[in-house]
């Protein structure tokens, strides 16, 4: 196998499982990432369904409250680190070298490692479900002192997080190096597709904040096992300190989860509007300013910890500012559609769904920024509704849009448009059915992370649970469609979409295993 690893440009590669274990090809690794995300999506989804079953009616029916808390914790960790991040990394692996006209990722062997760490990290995380004292149940935010009450699972949780962090840092380094060094001659930075731009900025965010999370959880580990008291008041520490560290990572993290989707949507809308993207430069600057602002707003997750007035006011203002560049993006997309000649294939539907529902999530985010009102919203289902709107019909829809958009390119086959559209409409209806009522229960006073609730919340919870099951089952269509498309179908043209522009559409569908060994000519 080593001969193959050494000679990346050799056209023969081992077949079967060894191909995937030893691969250093960016397309193979991209595929691995995407399938990994798909598997995790169903595991995390199953956890969500456990949560929604328990919340279908008031009273405790199915699970113990402790297990319920484990489910909310694990659902979040799996969905964030196991689905959205790997899926975007997968897209980056597949598309970035092609989009910039490079032959492969900059550091192919490290690329192999950054993927293969993930299954280990997640086996470790998921194995905690079977441990004494149960899986971590202190919330994905890991606030001490509660997270320190975790049983045997604790060190596994921490090391799993370390490995996930390591994997995404390695992935990010690779992406930055690829974008900076592997561009074809003539591909200047301001000619790059927006997906590449958003990923470049995302990768820098990852490199900057994942180590901070690693530091924070390491301190938790030493607090629990080695007698330090970083976060223990008894030893002169401060539990709130952890929240500052966590959200210093956590807020850039939520932009890590959303920025690549901006890139995806900025690729899809112009294609199906048959009109160039409006305000390319302002999109780049808006992305950069969102990334910058993400470092100075972290404490808006902590308005209720009792910060001094000046702190609350500063973080309120800074947070509200984020609405400006985000607004610019939405306005640009709408203006791109304006006076275009649109068609509505599945990727376009998902992209439009993204714009509408992400904006709804953005609005509730703006509401949450108003500190006095946040005292009422904080830690309620209103927050749950908010971040699910930006993550599910936001990030997840963007990932699906990207899959539909590039699937014909990847496989060489067209997917079934009827199935795709069915998938879109079912997902859209059920995702709203799930998450819209959560605004209402949140405003009415239902806190998040509770396994049981008082009677006035019953109706909307029932609706949300029905929606969740509908959404869950609708995703099986997606799985079926992808397998079906890989197996065969109408052959796709190289261009695939009438209005598509960019280097990836100049390659054959599917592209050769090694593409752009000789750099393309950029106009």
């Amino acid at each position: 196998m080593s001969s193959v690893v050494k000679d990346e440009h050799h056209d023969e590669h081992p077949s079967g499982i060894m191909r995937w274990i030893t691969t250093t090809n960016h397309k193979d690794i991209g595929t691995l990432y995407l399938w990994f995300a798909m598997i995790m999506f169903f595991i995390g989804g199953l956890m969500a369904l456990v949560i929604r079953s328990e919340l279908f009616q008031p009273g405790l029916q199915f699970v113990d409250p402790q297990f319920f808390n484990s489910m909310t914790t694990m659902h979040a960790l799996v969905m964030i680190f196991g689905v959205v991040m790997p899926a975007f990394t997968g897209l980056a692996n597949w598309m970035i070298p092609i989009m910039v006209g490079g032959p492969d990722m900059a550091l192919p062997r490290m690329n192999n490692w950054s993927f293969w760490i993930m299954p280990f990290a997640f086996s470790m995380l998921l194995s905690t479900l079977f441990m004494d004292g149960g899986a971590p149940a202190g919330g994905w935010t890991l606030y001490p002192p509660l997270s320190l009450q975790t049983g045997d699972a604790f060190p596994f949780l921490i090391f799993a997080i370390h490995f996930m962090g390591l994997s995404s840092i390695m992935g990010a380094i690779n992406i930055v190096a690829t974008i900076l060094n592997m561009r074809a001659p003539g591909m200047t930075l301001m000619k790059m597709p927006l997906f590449v731009w958003t990923w470049l900025i995302t990768a820098f965010l990852l490199i900057a904040v994942m180590p901070v999370l690693a530091g924070g959880v390491t301190m938790l580990l030493t607090d629990k096992f080695f007698g330090t008291s970083f976060f223990n008041a008894a030893g002169g520490g401060d539990p709130v300190m952890f929240q500052h560290i966590f959200w210093f990572f956590g807020h850039p993290e939520v932009y890590i989860l959303i920025l690549p989707s901006f890139g995806v949507v900025s690729a899809i809308i112009p294609t199906f509007a048959r009109k160039p993207l409006f305000g390319y430069a302002s999109m780049v600057y808006a992305t950069a300013s969102i990334a910058f602002l993400s470092f100075i707003v972290w404490a808006h997750h902590m308005f209720t910890v009792g910060m001094p007035l000046a702190g609350e006011v500063f973080f309120m203002f800074a947070t509200m500012l984020i609405a400006v560049p985000t607004g610019v993006k939405v306005f640009n997309w709408v203006t791109t559609m304006w006076k275009g000649a649109m068609t509505f294939e599945t990727p376009m539907l998902f992209a439009i769904g993204f714009i509408v529902m992400f904006t709804i999530g953005g609005f509730s985010g703006l509401m949450l920024a108003i500190t006095p009102a946040d005292f009422q919203y904080h830690d309620t289902y209103f927050v749950v509704a908010h971040f699910h709107y930006v993550l599910v019909p936001g990030s997840i829809f963007a990932i699906m849009a990207a899959c539909y958009y590039w699937l014909p390119k990847w496989t060489g086959n067209m997917y079934s448009e009827t199935l795709g559209k069915t998938h879109f409409w079912l997902s859209t209806i059920f995702v709203n059915l799930t998450f819209f009522p959560m605004h209402f229960v949140g405003l009415a006073g239902m806190p998040r992370r509770i396994p049981d609730y008082s009677l006035q919340f019953a109706d909307y919870n029932m609706i949300a649970s029905i929606g969740a099951f509908g959404f869950g089952f609708a995703q099986l269509i997606f799985l079926y469609l992808i397998i079906k498309t890989i197996k065969g179908g109408t052959k796709a043209t190289d261009q695939v979409w009438e209005g598509a522009e960019g280097l990836e559409w100049t390659l054959s569908s599917p592209p050769p295993y090694h593409s752009f060994n000789t750099p393309p000519v950029i106009k």
């Binding site: 380094i173 180590p211 690693a214 924070g216 301190m219 008041a233 002169g236 401060d238 009792g306």
Partner: protein, 180 residues
């Protein structure tokens, strides 16, 4: 191969950023403490002795209330209470009060009281001249101990703060007794 070298150089730079950020996360702890000391961000008053400057010179005519409360994490074993709930004080003047601790068990209790001030902006204006919280305390079985506290309020205290609460949480020393 030029490209490969370039890639490795880029990777090295990025790894360097990565490591600095990891170290930065640990540096956040002292940074946070400094910011807290300067601004009183978390209501954690310094556990150190303050220098007594000529406080008596500038006694303001303002009056404000200082309240004392306590919290003990093992209420069964140690009763730890302020002797008085509230004091009317003038900024600039030195006052004293006592906390009373009773060990209800048959063995020594070792631990330390950790102060916290509300509103937390007031923390840096509350000057403790002598306090039992500066060091670890040992309570012998059955004994009632008076723990003195001498303090003054800095006259720079913003006018809008009229009530300050000083809370002591008593933590029993476990294996962390050697810290601080």
């Amino acid at each position: 191969m030029k490209e490969k070298k370039l890639n490795i150089r880029t990777a090295k730079k990025l790894i360097f950023i990565c490591f600095s950020m990891f170290l930065f996360s640990f540096a956040l702890i002292p940074l946070y403490n400094i910011i807290c000391d300067v601004t009183g961000l978390n209501g954690n008053t310094s556990n150190l002795k303050e220098k007594v400057e000529a406080y008596t010179e500038t006694i303001s005519t303002e009056k404000l209330n200082v309240q004392f409360i306590s919290h003990q994490y093992n209420g069964e074993k140690l009763v730890f209470k302020p002797s008085e709930f509230e004091m009317v004080v003038s900024p600039g003047k030195v006052y004293s009060t006592v906390y009373i601790a009773t060990n209800k068990t048959n063995s020594n209790i070792v631990g330390q009281a950790v102060p916290s001030v509300s509103p937390n902006e007031a923390a840096k204006y509350l000057k403790k001249i002598e306090c039992f919280c500066f060091e670890e305390q040992t309570f012998e079985p059955g004994k009632v101990v008076q723990l003195p506290l001498y303090f003054a309020i800095d006259e720079k205290l913003p006018n809008r703060i009229k009530t300050i609460t000083l809370s002591y949480s008593f933590f029993e020393a476990l294996n962390v007794s050697k810290k601080d």
